[in-house]
């Protein structure tokens, strides 16, 4: 459970940092009157905070699954899974999607409608291509005889890539709706915000995928072993 505990420690650090700015040591019973906020600028939109909290939940989900991965890995029946080379291509495609969305965000900020739309379409295509690529990777593995129930390593591979894929599907639904909106109306504040949120989500899912990829390829466990050696 150490991965989950480390993740929660990070979340706790964010919460403590935020709480520390909330005057928790004030004496509300003595303070009557107006509140003046001396912080400059408007508060972030609710949707942005909402996405941040949601990504915290997704992070908890994956860190718990990864904890389970490490705990299950310790048993003797753990096999190895040859990673299809296609996964490297998929990683590249997902990164392209992330870059495209980043570009869409930049162009939207410059009110550059045409470029934003193109970038959104590119991201959408990259997302779909990633999913198709993952399916092909699954097929390649099953064709080679690595079935879901064959070995816990296989089971975790399908489970984790499946969970990640479902999150990408969810992201694609949001991205698809956004693309339709961006084509049919001018880039107002709400569309620009949506582009930004999609970009954040995509970067996060790319990060999760990189962690998972490191896990499957064994680098993650090398790192964990190294940390263990440092501790003992």
């Amino acid at each position: 459970m150490s991965v989950a505990v480390i993740f929660l420690t990070l979340v706790a650090a964010v919460i403590v940092w935020w709480l520390a700015r909330q005057r928790l040591a004030s004496r509300p019973w003595l303070e009557v009157g107006h509140v003046y906020d001396r912080r400059s600028g408007t508060p972030p939109p609710a949707a942005k905070i909402g996405l941040g909290v949601f990504l915290g939940v997704v992070g908890a989900l994956f860190s718990l699954a990864i904890s389970a991965y490490f705990m299950r890995m310790a048993s003797s029946d753990w096999g190895t899974l040859p990673l299809p080379g296609l996964l490297w291509v998929n990683t590249g495609i997902l990164a392209v999607g992330s870059i495209a969305l980043h570009r869409a965000k930049m162009e939207a900020e410059r009110r550059n409608e045409e470029a934003t739309r193109t970038a959104l379409l590119a991201a959408l295509a990259a997302g779909l291509a990633f999913l198709v690529g993952q399916l092909f990777a699954w097929r390649e593995l099953t064709a080679a005889g690595y079935f879901l129930a064959g070995n816990p390593a296989n089971s975790f591979f399908y489970l984790l890539t499946g969970m990640h894929g479902l999150h990408i599907v969810g992201g694609l639904v949001a991205l698809g709706r956004l693309t339709v909106r961006a084509w049919s109306m001018p880039l107002d504040r709400r569309v620009r915000l949506s582009v930004e949120l999609c970009a954040t989500y995509w970067h996060f899912m790319l990060f999760v995928w990189l962690v998972l990829f490191a896990l499957f390829s064994g680098w993650a466990s090398d790192v964990v072993d190294f940390c263990r050696q440092l501790l003992t």
Partner: protein, 592 residues
């Protein structure tokens, strides 16, 4: 960063958050059924939760009938008994307590108490309820599925949960149970995002975090915890579903079932326990923290006195929330883990007693020399304090490894957790319903019926669970369908068991009085007016009662003070609402 000045006469600073555009329902369906109004959603959540809770209540009756009078009732065989246990526990903990505190009270109170028009994502909020309802329906469906519901115990430990020896293990029972939990968690996440972001971003002008009523602090912290803890249950359910349906071996070790070697091998049942309790222990506080918050407000309002140690109460809520994530393995002392882990988890478990005890002292000190009105909400709040202290003290016993190991599988544990997370939070739920019913419906609940309800429930709950401690200390095991001939079980245990069962029937029946009161008072109750308890918090200051869609009429409220200005010296009345800017506070020294 944030400044509070007592310059009441100055011009109002400009709003930080602009007023929101509300969704305007056009038809009866979108107004009352597929409503996006948090208050309607709250009532939908509460009604569904209470309805499914009544099913769980009947299940507990059936269990007690078997334990009190073994062999008398033919339709309760061992399988049925285990199914009753499982469904009773799961429904009460998740589908009643969690859903009612967060989905019910959270939805109703958060927007009103922080001075918002609605939740920040009303559409997701609506979806949250309908997905919750779907989860409940899937759960209920398992009663009618071939083989019946699962009988694996509410902890659903593998491997037994998915084997043929357990009712529903090889049938639909366990599949529907796991699916229902997965659906519940998806729905809850949608609602939970709303509760958190509304508290963060939807507060009225002047409502700083330290001016929030403790109810909001409790629900807010519990929601954050639930958002981080439920994924553990989610992962565990998905993995067990894979084991059951697709033949994987996440949790399933090599096992021989009915003389036949199963496909599984190498899986780790302990892994499931870790995941389950990583959710399961925070869950205790997900239920308890809203109760802590609500009870603080009930006591302060009905004792006409400011809450003692507000800051300490807030800190305690946050600290309890944090600590509850590093105590989960105290549910696994008997799983054969490393003794050093046991030492660590026993220490963290006992440390939680410190902030919890601070809260109890503060409630008692709030009551000290207060102007205590023994209204129904106050009675239930007092009932909560007593039962919670009682259940908490036995928790100190069980938190120690050496005491827990012999007691772990006895009725003592059953008595302990029913006191601390069954009776205590339910007391708060009742108190809260008696307190806020006038705001929700505009009418008071009937006092006489409420008194009957309180005294029968409170005394009855003690008569049920107090003797149960003794039964457990004698060594009577829990989870047993019948005791049979056991040398160490005295005759007195059987007599006590019969007594407990009769009490359980009576206390259950008293809840019918409560339900009748809820329905009867809807039309016949005394008119309440806007603020019958003369309370300070914002929900009592709405221009109309019950508050309409949008809550506040034309202008959002502005907050000038904290939530506990009761009996302020020099003030014309014994309470000053949070949105009232009266400057007459000369000579006021608050206690803390």
């Amino acid at each position: 960063m944030v400044d509070v000045r007592s310059g009441i006469g100055e011009a109002l600073p400009p709003p930080e958050v602009e007023d929101v555009e509300l969704y305007h329902p056009h038809s009866w369906w979108t107004r009352y059924v597929f409503s996006q109004d948090a208050k309607i959603i709250a009532i939908q959540y509460a009604t569904t939760a209470i309805a499914i809770g009544m099913v769980a209540l009947v299940l507990s009756w059936l269990m007690r009938l078997q334990l009190g009078f073994p062999g008398t009732f033919d339709f309760i065989d061992a399988d049925a008994y285990y199914q009753f246990i499982t469904m009773h526990g799961m429904i009460m903990v998740i589908y009643l307590l969690t859903a009612l505190f967060l989905g019910g009270f959270g939805n109703y109170l958060i927007p009103l108490m922080v001075g918002a028009r609605d939740m920040v994502f009303p559409y997701a909020n609506m979806l949250s309820y309908w997905i919750y309802l779907l989860a409940v329906l899937v759960l209920v469906a398992s009663f009618f599925a071939p083989g019946g519901p699962t009988g694996a115990g509410w902890t659903l430990y593998p491997p037994q949960a998915v084997l043929s020896g357990t009712p529903g293990g090889k049938d639909w029972g366990i599949i529907l149970m796991l699916s229902s939990l997965i659906i519940f968690i998806i729905g809850f996440t949608m609602g939970g995002l709303n509760y958190v972001v509304t508290v963060l971003q939807g507060r009225a002008r002047g409502m700083t975090l330290m001016r929030l009523p403790l109810t909001v602090w409790g629900i807010f912290t519990a929601t954050v915890m639930a958002l981080l803890a439920f994924p553990a249950l989610f992962v565990a359910c998905v993995m067990m579903l894979f084991d059951r349906l697709l033949g994987t071996s996440f949790f399933m070790p090599a096992i021989v079932e009915m003389g036949e070697q199963l496909q599984h091998g190498g899986g780790s049942p302990i892994l499931f326990q870790h995941l389950f309790w990583f959710f399961g222990h925070p869950e205790v506080y997900i239920v308890a923290l809203p109760a802590f918050g609500i009870v603080s407000d009930l006591i302060s309002t009905h004792a006409r006195k400011n809450i003692f140690g507000y800051r300490m109460m807030v800190w305690a809520i946050v600290i309890i929330g944090g600590l509850s994530f590093i105590v989960w393995a105290h549910h696994m002392y008997v799983s054969g883990m490393n003794p050093y882990f046991g030492f660590f988890f026993a220490t963290t478990t006992l440390i939680i007693a410190v902030p919890t005890a601070i809260k109890v002292y503060n409630w008692v000190l709030t009551l000290w020399r207060g102007n205590i009105h023994l209204t129904l909400p106050m009675l239930f709040a007092l009932g909560f304090i007593v039962t919670f202290v009682n259940g908490g003290l036995t928790g100190l016993f069980l938190g120690n490894v050496v005491v827990d190991v012999p007691l772990s599988d006895t009725m003592f544990v059953v008595a302990h957790f029913h006191m601390v997370m069954g009776v205590a939070p339910i007391m708060v739920i009742f108190g809260a319903i008696y307190h806020w019913y006038p705001k929700i419906t505009g009418r008071m609940l009937n006092e006489a019926l409420g008194q009957i309800h309180f005294w029968v429930t409170f005394i009855g709950a003690y008569l049920i669970f107090f003797p149960m401690h003794y039964v457990g200390l004698v060594g009577v095991p829990r989870r047993y369908y019948e005791l049979g001939e056991m040398a160490f079980v005295q005759e007195s245990v059987h007599t006590l068991n019969a007594f407990i069962s009769v009490m359980a029937l009576i206390v259950g029946a008293a809840q019918i009085v409560f339900l009748f009161n809820l329905v009867w008072s809807l039309r016949r109750g005394r008119e309440a007016g806007g603020n019958p308890w003369r309370a300070t918090t914002l929900e009592w200051q709405t221009p109309e009662t019950p508050p309409p869609h949008g809550n506040w009429g034309k202008d959002l409220p502005v907050v000038y003070r904290w939530a506990y200005d009761y009996s302020v010296p020099g003030a014309p009345e014994d309470f000053i609402p949070q949105n009232q800017p009266t400057p007459s506070r000369v000579g006021h020294e608050a206690v803390s």
